[in-house]
Amino acid sequence: MNWDFIAEYLPMYERAAILTVKLGVIGIVFAILVGLICAMIQYHKIPVARQIVAVYIELSRNTPLLVQLFFIYYGLPKLGANLSPEVCGIIGLAFLGGSYMAESFRSGLETIAPIQRESALSLGMTNRQAMQYIILPQAVSMSVPAFVANVIFLLKETSVFSAISLMDLMFTAKDLIGLYYKTIESLFLLVVFYLIILLPVSILGSLLERRMRHAGFGS
């Protein structure tokens, strides 16, 4: 292990890590928004929109992120939409993550027995109040484990961004191997940096899961 090499290229990895986290976080925020909207549409069984969401979810969950990115980055310019690699990465992550988030929120919503909604309505609550005070708080707590798993999954998926020339962690490692042939050092730094990013997320996630477990009703 050549420690001088590691010290010299540490800043490069730091920049790459910041890019990875930045794109990851923005992408995940959009994924959550898309997921919430889709889950709500499915839960309320809104006609037409519901079918569109179903098609979207199947399309997005059954194609690899790499293929989606290739389509967005190399395909869309042929149709006249030339987007920067960063924007493509975020769109790709939101497109993929949206469906996973939607599924986790939907399964959370479905665990809440209909009797709770009916009870709330019979107590004189409006539909919105029942959603806001009774169903959503429980549904959110039920979907936390799946949600945390999705966040970690999406952060790891950012490693395919290298295919659209984004200098993320994966690309930096591959590039350094190609330039200086220091395979062990480059891969070592790669693993360390992914751990630095993902371990806190995973630890925070399990803490959150443990706290949220108290929020369920009758379980």
Partner: protein
Amino acid sequence: MKNLKKFLALSLAVVLTAGVTACGSSSDNGSQKSGKEVYRTLDEIKEDGTINIGVFSDKNPFGYVDENGDYQGYDVYFAERLAKDMGVKVNYVSTEAANRIEYLQTGKVDVILANFTVTEERAEEVDFADPYMNVSLGVVSKEDNEITTLDDWNKDDSVIVISGTTAETYLTKNYPDIPLQKFDSYATAKEAFENGTSVAWANDNTEVLAFALQNADKGYVVGIPELGSSDSIAPAVTKGNDTLRDWINEEIKTLGEEQFFHADYEATLADTYGLDYEDSLVVEGGKKSE
């Protein structure tokens, strides 16, 4: 629950044992041939009957896959002959620029014939045989925004390079201020360049020339045909695999007598370059004419 735990513990034990034995047996194999070399000697390849050759799959006309799914090109033409004279079958392994050295160091291929430019840095990691082609760097750009020099670079513009190529190393070293847009394969770099991602694409001059000629109708031009020093392209083997390298050198020398690489050029490259570049590109018998 208890049963489940027992089952899990048992399966873990089985997996671990299997893993350890597997590792053990593979290192046994290694020790039989003095030390822990990853490469296969000439005799081992002949005995096995198949040679693994790393080539490009997306670098027309040097190494590419044609519409029938067969490997074709200048490098492949040579690879076919190499295997034929060795009396073995070829197994082509598709490589990308950045992992050519890795493939040799991990023994995934026996020879790299992927338009591999000889450089001092690379020679420390792998062993090169004698050269079979000349090359230098070139820069291709759009006709209406032709790039003829890399000096006084406008920092808003980027240059496309492929990760792990000599173009990347050269620009990183000599023009650190030029923003590089890096791709990991020829196919993606080409696609991005055609989409107008960057103003220029730096690569082996053979490759950018081929690109400009193949896309002449779209208005590409090689504004810088020669950048940096003139280099050679040679087969590479894993460091220390002398039996194989010596055999390849001998083969290249023999092939020189029949002007094999001229025939190779005419069969694979003439369609793209015409015959004008034949004598400047081809190296015959492993000896460069100065």
